[in-house]
C-alpha cells in the first residue's frame, strides 16, 4: 500500500513535469492564461464588491463575512480544480475513443486523467481568494484563536475534498452520456459560484440541492461555527462540525462511482 502510494506520487510528479514543460512552449499565451485565470476569480469578487456598494448586508451577512465565504470557497475550488479539474476531459476521451489508451496503461485511470491536463495556469486560481480571505479575517471582529485557525484550515481541506469528489462524480456521469459534461458544469462551476454567497440568499429548491450535493458543507455550515453566527435555516447544531465526515463520505461515494463508471465503459471503437 505504502509502496504503491509512493510509486503513484513519483509518477504524478513526472507526468506533471512533462505537462508543465509543454505549457511553457507558448510562453506569451501562458502568461496571459495565468493572468486571465487570476482575473476570473477577481471578477467574481468585483461582483460582490459592487453589490456591497449598494447594500450594507446580504441575508444578514456583512461584506467581511461574505468575503470570508468567498475566500474559503475560492481556495478550496482552486486547489480542487488544480488537482482533479482535468478529469472532466474524460468525456472528450470517451467520445474520441482515446480512453482505450488510458485503460491499456499499467497506471490507475483516475491518476492518468488528473495528470493529463495539469494546467500550470490553474495554480494562480487559489491565490486571489487567499488574499481576500486574509483581509476578511483582519476585518472581522473575531478573536483568531489557534482553535479557530485550525477550524479554518480544516474547512478548506474539507471543502477541497468535497469539490474534488464532485468533479470526479460529474466526470463519471459522462460515461453514461457524453453530453453530460456540459450538464456536469452546473454542479462543478455552479458549485464554485454558489458557495461564494451565504446559503439563505437562495430560494428553497437551490438550498435543498446544496445539501444533496453537499456544497453547504464546503463553507457555509462550518463558517457558522467559526464565526459564531446565528443560523436562520434551522440547521441542527452538531452539523456545524460534520463537514469532515461529509468530505470522507463523499470521497468513498466518488471512488465507487468512478470504478462503476469505468467498468461501464464501452469503447466507441474509433
Amino acid at each position: 500500500m505504502v509502496e504503491a502510494t509512493a510509486r503513484n506520487a513519483r509518477l504524478w510528479r513526472r507526468l506533471i513535469g512533462a505537462r508543465i514543460r509543454s505549457d511553457l512552449q507558448y510562453r506569451t499565451s501562458l502568461v496571459m492564461l495565468a493572468t486571465g485565470t487570476f482575473l476570473v476569480t477577481t471578477m467574481d469578487f468585483a461582483m460582490i464588491a459592487v453589490i456591497f456598494g449598494r447594500v450594507p448586508s446580504l441575508a444578514g451577512w456583512s461584506l467581511a463575512e461574505v468575503a470570508f465565504l468567498y475566500g474559503t470557497a475560492g481556495i478550496a475550488f482552486g486547489i480542487a480544480d488544480l488537482f482533479v479539474g482535468s478529469v472532466d476531459k474524460a468525456s472528450e476521451r470517451i467520445r474520441t475513443g482515446s480512453f482505450d489508451i488510458i485503460l491499456l496503461r499499467p497506471v490507475g485511470t483516475l491518476l492518468q486523467l488528473v495528470t493529463d491536463e495539469f494546467a500550470l495556469r490553474r495554480a494562480s486560481r487559489p491565490l486571489q481568494p487567499l488574499v481576500v480571505l486574509v483581509i476578511a479575517m483582519m476585518a472581522l471582529d473575531v478573536a483568531w484563536t489557534p482553535l479557530r485557525l485550525a477550524m479554518i484550515a480544516l474547512m478548506i481541506v474539507g471543502g477541497t475534498v468535497i469539490f474534488s469528489g464532485i468533479w470526479v462524480i460529474s466526470a463519471a456521469a459522462t460515461f453514461w452520456t457524453v453530453e453530460g459534461r456540459e450538464a456536469a458544469n452546473a454542479v462543478t462551476y455552479g458549485g464554485g459560484f454558489l458557495t461564494q454567497y451565504p446559503l439563505p440568499v437562495y430560494g428553497e429548491v437551490v438550498r435543498s440541492l446544496a445539501f444533496v450535493v453537499p456544497l453547504a458543507f464546503v463553507n457555509y455550515v462550518p463558517a457558522l461555527a467559526v464565526l459564531g453566527k446565528d443560523d436562520t435555516l434551522g440547521i441542527p447544531g452538531p452539523l456545524r462540525y460534520a463537514a469532515p465526515l461529509v468530505a470522507v463520505a463523499l470521497t468513498v461515494v466518488a471512488t465507487v462511482t468512478w470504478r462503476v463508471a469505468v467498468r461501464h465503459y464501452r469503447s466507441t471503437g474509433s
Binding site: T28, V31, M32, L39, E179, A183, F193, Y202, V206
Partner: protein
C-alpha cells in the same frame, strides 16, 4: 448578398445537428440563472430599484443574460465560438482564403447561423426555465418586440466584430487560449453580464460606457425590459452601429495584415 444568406442558412443547419450538446449546456445556464436571480433579488429587495431594475427586472435580467451566452459567445468557454481561432491554429484557415467570398463576411455568416440556432434552442429554453419560479418581464407591444429583436441581432454582430479581432491574434500568438481567457473575463464584467453595469459605482460606469462590451448584454437587456423610449432605443442602436463600423474596419485591417505577413502553420 444572396450567397451570404445561403451561407448563414447552411451554418444554422450545420449547428442544428448539435441538438444534444445545446441541451446539455442548458443545465448550467438554468442553474446560474437561478443563483444570480436570487442574489440580485436580495439586493433590490433591500435597496429598491437600481438603474430601473426592480425585482421583476433583475430576475428577467438574470435569465435573459443567460439566454445571450451562446449567441454572444464572448465569455470564452461559455459555449461554442465560430471556430476561426481553431482553424488558424491548425492551418485550415488557408482553405478559407480560397473561398469566393470575403473572408470577414464569410465568418460573419457562419457566426450568425451559429448564434441564431443557439438563441432559438438553448437561449429560449433557458429563458423559459425562469418562469418555473418567477414571473419574468417580456416585451408586450409590437414596437417593444421589434426593438428587442433588432438590438439583439446588432448585439450579435458587435460581438462578432470583437471576437473576429480576438481570434485573429492567434496568427501572432499561435495559441489562442490566453487571449480568449483574458478577453472573456474582461467581457464578462464590462458587458454587464455578471451584474448590470448600472449597479456599478459612477466611475466604473464611465469605463463600461467607453467600451463596446456594454452593447452586447447591458443595452439589449435594457431594451428588452422596456427601459428605453423610442429615442432611447435609437440611441442604443446608434451606439451598436458605431461599434460595428469601428471594430469591423479594425478587424478587416488586421485580417489583411495577417494574411499578407503571416505564414500559415502547415501540417
Amino acid at each position: 448578398m444572396r450567397l451570404f444568406w445561403e451561407l448563414t442558412r447552411r451554418s444554422f443547419q450545420r449547428w442544428s445537428t448539435y441538438r444534444a450538446a445545446m441541451l446539455g449546456g442548458l443545465v448550467p445556464n438554468v442553474a446560474f440563472g437561478y443563483m444570480r436571480a436570487y442574489i440580485l433579488l436580495a439586493v433590490v429587495a433591500q435597496a429598491g430599484p437600481i438603474g430601473g431594475f426592480d425585482e421583476a427586472g433583475v430576475v428577467t435580467y438574470s435569465f435573459y443574460s443567460q439566454a445571450l451566452i451562446v449567441p454572444i459567445a464572448i465569455f470564452g468557454g461559455g459555449g461554442p465560438d465560430m471556430g476561426l481561432a481553431e482553424r488558424i491554429k491548425t492551418g485550415d484557415v488557408a482553405i478559407d482564403l480560397y473561398r469566393p467570398v470575403d473572408f470577414q463576411l464569410y465568418w460573419l455568416s457562419q457566426d450568425l447561423g451559429r448564434a441564431a440556432f443557439g438563441f432559438l434552442s438553448r437561449g429560449v429554453a433557458s429563458f423559459a426555465a425562469g418562469f418555473l419560479a418567477f414571473s419574468l418581464v417580456v416585451p408586450s407591444s409590437l414596437g417593444g418586440i421589434a426593438a428587442s429583436a433588432l438590438v439583439l441581432v446588432l448585439a450579435v454582430v458587435v460581438s462578432f466584430t470583437w471576437r473576429f479581432i480576438i481570434s485573429l491574434t492567434t496568427f501572432w500568438l499561435l495559441d489562442d487560449r490566453g487571449m480568449q481567457t483574458l478577453a472573456g473575463v474582461t467581457a464578462m464584467f464590462f458587458s454587464g453580464f455578471l451584474i448590470p453595469t448600472t449597479f456599478f459605482p459612477g466611475w466604473l460606469q464611465g469605463v463600461a460606457a467607453a467600451l463596446p462590451l456594454r452593447a452586447m448584454v447591458q443595452l439589449p437587456v435594457e431594451v428588452f425590459l422596456g427601459l428605453h423610449d423610442a429615442r432611447g432605443v435609437a440611441g442604443v442602436v446608434a451606439v451598436q452601429v458605431t461599434w460595428i463600423v469601428v471594430l469591423g474596419l479594425a478587424g478587416r485591417a488586421l485580417a489583411n495584415l495577417a494574411l499578407r505577413k503571416v505564414v500559415v502553420q502547415g501540417g
